[in-house]
Subunit: 601 residues, 2 copies
């Protein structure tokens, strides 16, 4: 299978032209790197993806993990993948040199993660989860914990997980009930159940290391009483051998998609023999975990974008080769049929996909840029990037997740009946992608996070910084004749977003939290569309710059395509905010008022 699943040209356009990743090498922390290094890293990622991940994309779906006699068995390739990722330094690419990492900018590491996810998202989840779990221990755990767990996880030998969800506590983490009882020793006794744990057990790793939320006996109620523990499947005995830690897999889910990666239920401490090691301070667990969750949320957005990207290239390839029908103005049946890419409606479907995937990728790499700049800047600069990242995390998670599904659905539609059949990969993307608006916080949760928390941080400071970023792009674009119209359009949209935001904040004052947050999902949708329009305007600026200088014929096609996609986004997608605004400004509080009994019939 040599099919295209991402565009190297687009990725490099975003990294070098739009985001100017080379600029971060001016900071001491990244001074060893340069464009040559970045190109080599991307080339290696591409090779790894093509050699190891892409060839088993379908196979892992058709041969999902099994669960028999308490054991989860995954496709044999998973062990090779973990090992290759460990040996290649891919599970430690952003880790500092002094912790044996590659100290790469997140922009580059995430670009590679994007390539892996485009090739095979379920496979890429295994090392990705280990990376996040290891970082939690690095940042908040003590040296003993680090020494036992982190090197094994970063080498791809042990699997890391994030273990949050419980049967009675999905979106409501305040209600977790897993108990941690102090033993007076260096460890706690842990008992309870976890559900929906991704890569929570399997035979491709020697050990599974759960970064688990639990409540220490006597802790405050709600989220203020949550602590973070390392709870391994197997612990080391005094002789240094791995022995059971009383973490038992009690079930494995059969899922719509994302089948290559097992998601399991765990019974913990049924024999009162499960030990957990506290990470950091008691009752601070949720704060620590949020570091991993925020990374994971960006990771979901990146994965959703990657999947939709691969689906787009499959649809594009089909549309170029499949002949069907004739242009509506030239219907002579004696003439040969045309490739369906010639039909305006098919071009519209492809432009929609391209607008979503390239806009989303631009946003996600923009977020990676903020991570990098936050790392190397000081004081107010540092805070600025941190606030922008906080604000944009729910957007960067949700827009690609929700719109990625729509993009994949349009890709499937390009195939007609063939899209519904497993001879082509679209049906698998369609199944795989549906997880994204659910895991790492549902879309509803992110809506409330954006409007109820992020927009109001520090009296709206994050929101102001966001407005500044957009206004900066608008000012630059206004100077360029080909972009003036779109700059003006985004300016109008931004003004409307400010009005709506102001209206909703007043509503919170006047009528309280419920009406304020009732349509937070719609607010997030509107916010997302405007954010992606901004990303398209930024791309437009770079395109116009490139077209103004000497560029190759093949690049001209690419840049022209970018401009058409920008026009598509401003012509077809941005207008969608109008309907959202009408609703968000409406004073009918029907979803708050409606009695649940009125659903009776």
């Amino acid at each position: 299978m040599a099919a295209k699943f991402f565009s190297e040209k687009n990725l490099k356009f975003l990294l070098y032209d739009v985001l100017d990743v080379e600029k971060v090498t001016q900071f001491d922390y990244y001074q060893d790197h340069n464009k040559t290094v970045f190109d080599m890293v991307i080339k290696s990622a591409d090779k790894l993806a093509k050699d190891l991940l892409w060839p088993v994309f379908e196979e892992m779906d058709r041969n999902p993990p099994t669960f028999e006699n308490g054991e989860v068995r995954v496709h044999p390739i998973v062990q090779k993948i973990l090992k290759a990722f460990g040996e290649g330094g891919w599970i430690s690419s952003t880790v500092p040199y002094d912790l044996d990492g590659e100290q790469l900018p997140h922009m580059i590491a995430d670009a590679c993660q994007f390539i892996f996810a485009a090739a095979n998202y379920p496979a890429s989840a295994f090392p990705g989860l280990s990376d996040g779990a290891a970082r939690l221990i690095e940042n908040f755990g003590n040296k003993e914990l680090y020494d036992v767990y982190v090197p094994n996880m970063r080498q791809g030998l042990w699997q890391g997980t994030m273990a949050l969800t419980e049967p009675e506590a999905g979106s409501s983490l305040a209600d977790i009930t897993i108990r941690a009882v102090s033993t007076g020793s260096e460890y706690y006794h842990i008992t309870g159940q976890k559900i929906f744990i991704s890569a929570g057990d399997h035979n491709a790793a020697e050990n599974i290391v759960h970064l688990m939320l639990a409540k220490i006996d006597g802790a405050p109620s709600g989220v203020k009483g949550i602590s973070l523990f390392v709870v391994p499947k197997k612990r080391l005995d005094k002789a240094g051998a791995l022995v059971s830690n009383d973490v038992v897999t009690s079930g494995m889910y059969h899922k719509l998609g994302y089948r290559g990666c097992p998601i399991v239920q765990l019974s913990i401490g049924d024999k009162n023999n499960c030990r957990g090691w506290l990470v950091g301070e008691p009752h601070n667990g949720l704060r620590y975990m949020f570091q991993m969750m925020n990374e994971a949320r960006i990771g979901v957005g990146l994965g959703a974008t990657a999947m939709a990207t691969a689906a787009y290239y499959a649809a594009l390839d089909y549309a170029r080769t499949r002949r069907q029908g004739r242009i509506v103005s030239r219907k002579d049946p004696a003439q040969p049929q045309v490739p369906i890419i010639e039909h305006a409606d098919v071009k519209r479907m492809l432009l929609f996909q391209r607008a979503v995937v390239e806009g989303s990728l631009a946003l996600l790499l923009q977020c990676s840029r903020f991570v990098d700049l936050q790392k190397v800047s000081q004081d107010t600069e540092k805070e600025k990037y941190s606030l922008l990242l906080d604000l944009l995390t729910p957007v960067a998670k949700t827009y690609p997740s929700e719109m990625g599904i729509q993009a994949i659905s349009q890709g499937l539609q390009c195939f007609g009946g063939s899209g519904y059949c497993d001879d082509y990969p679209l049906e698998q993307y369609y199944r795989d992608a549906r997880i994204h608006p659910i895991h790492e916080g549902t879309t509803g949760i992110h809506g409330m996070d954006l409007l109820g928390r992020k927009v109001t941080i520090q009296n709206g400071r994050a929101f102001s910084l966001f407005v500044d970023e957009l206004q900066d792009a608008i000012s630059k674009a206004r100077e360029i004749p080909a972009l003036g119209k779109y700059a003006q359009s985004l300016e109008g949209a931004l003004e409307k977003l400010q009005n709506v935001t102001h209206h909703l904040l007043s509503l919170a004052q006047a009528e309280g939290l419920e009406p304020f947050l009732a349509d937070a999902t719609l607010y997030l949708e509107m916010f997302g569309i405007i954010t992606i329009a901004w990303q398209w305007l930024l791309q437009g600026i770079s395109v116009q710059k490139a077209l103004g200088s000497d560029c190759r014929k093949s690049d001209v096609d690419f840049y022209q395509g970018k401009m058409y996609t920008l026009r598509y986004f401003f012509g077809y997608e941005l207008p969608k905010i109008k309907g959202l605004i009408e609703r968000l400004m409406d004073d009918d509080r029907l979803t708050v008022e409606m009695d649940a009994g009125f659903f009776n019939d």
Copy 2:
């Protein structure tokens, strides 16, 4: 499994209160029927659905048809279903008495079809296809054909199909290449290939009867040279025994969903021994087939609605029983968690589903009403209903298909992670429903059908009649205080639809067919939203009438729920036309202009 998969109360509200089905019994043709009969028929359908279809909904998905040694084997229940439907008169419910049918109004027959499809859409497809195929022979075939095929099909012994698609002719029927060669005898020799034939072969019927499009040698090119044939899998020899007719199943598709019903590829006449019998006149095949296609299109809309209805009730049940989190204004973690139906965002998701499914069902039964009235009226009245039906067919097919998918996706979202797992039925509905925007004409095809053909019929007469219907509803609603606001809102929307339509028709004159039809899909989307708003206004009128008279407490809840859903539709869905209008009035012809080469990168 006794779970609710449709609402009898809502179905009867639509039939009796909104559409006044009893009124058709005033016509001679339906004079034998009355409400008691209708209620009995619906009760029987409900029983059949609960006894035979619903219990195997999941089982048929998990045990899909197999294809081995050239034989397609379906779940054993299919044979029982076909037999029960045949014996119960369900494959002949709208057939006239003199052809041994029940002569039921389509409104009632389609209500029953809705119940069957809600219980198990893939299973309901078998008898549904036979019904349509049999009607084609009844209406256009000669007595010999009728006698051999129709009784066996209507008794559930033989399976009927519609065989249109070919490898090089999916959406483009002009390009079919199956050959029919006259033999001088009563039959033709048929050779070629068909693909994507639903129920095109299986072991639950004694014979498969394909209503097949083919081209007689020497026929005109394009759609004007298409003829319709009966091509059975087995033909009768002189002794009256069934013998092979050289129709061979060459493959079976593995599909995303809709797995209970096999879809196959056929090789026809490989041994030069396939006989086909011409239906009606040569070269008129497409016209005949359109009768079945239009019925099938309405049937797809009904099936999509039914599936989304069943998904809605599953989500509603889950939302009522699943406790998670607390109302945002009362977050004390010491208080118990609330059922998620108490959250405004979950109510919004449920209202969206209800608005889509009850609005769609109202439209589909409205179409059934037009079929009934067309059948019993004369002259201009008859023509009026026929034109309305023509105009609304692409809408009644597409809105439920596209929005049903969105509704099911929101239903899945209500379940959180559980929605992604096969412990609950949502993941199956999500897979099953994706077929609807594809089969019986893709959404793109229906957009062009609506704008390019239906809106322009008889100088816009169908469109005028549609406007009249809406204006009539608006006038009535304006008299009712509780509906005045919505009447005004629909009036505004209708005016905008007229403006957009006028604008596009001018565009056809000024710039030609390509720009005119480039955004036909968006036009269809806008048309669909306004059509469903009309259906909600009609329901509102009936609700207000009922609330004004004595009604039971339990009915009050139902009617209140209807009013909230109406408010939801006008508050959240109707505003979506604003973005569509902006695009449809835009003069940037980017999808027409864009060179396919600009997708290169």
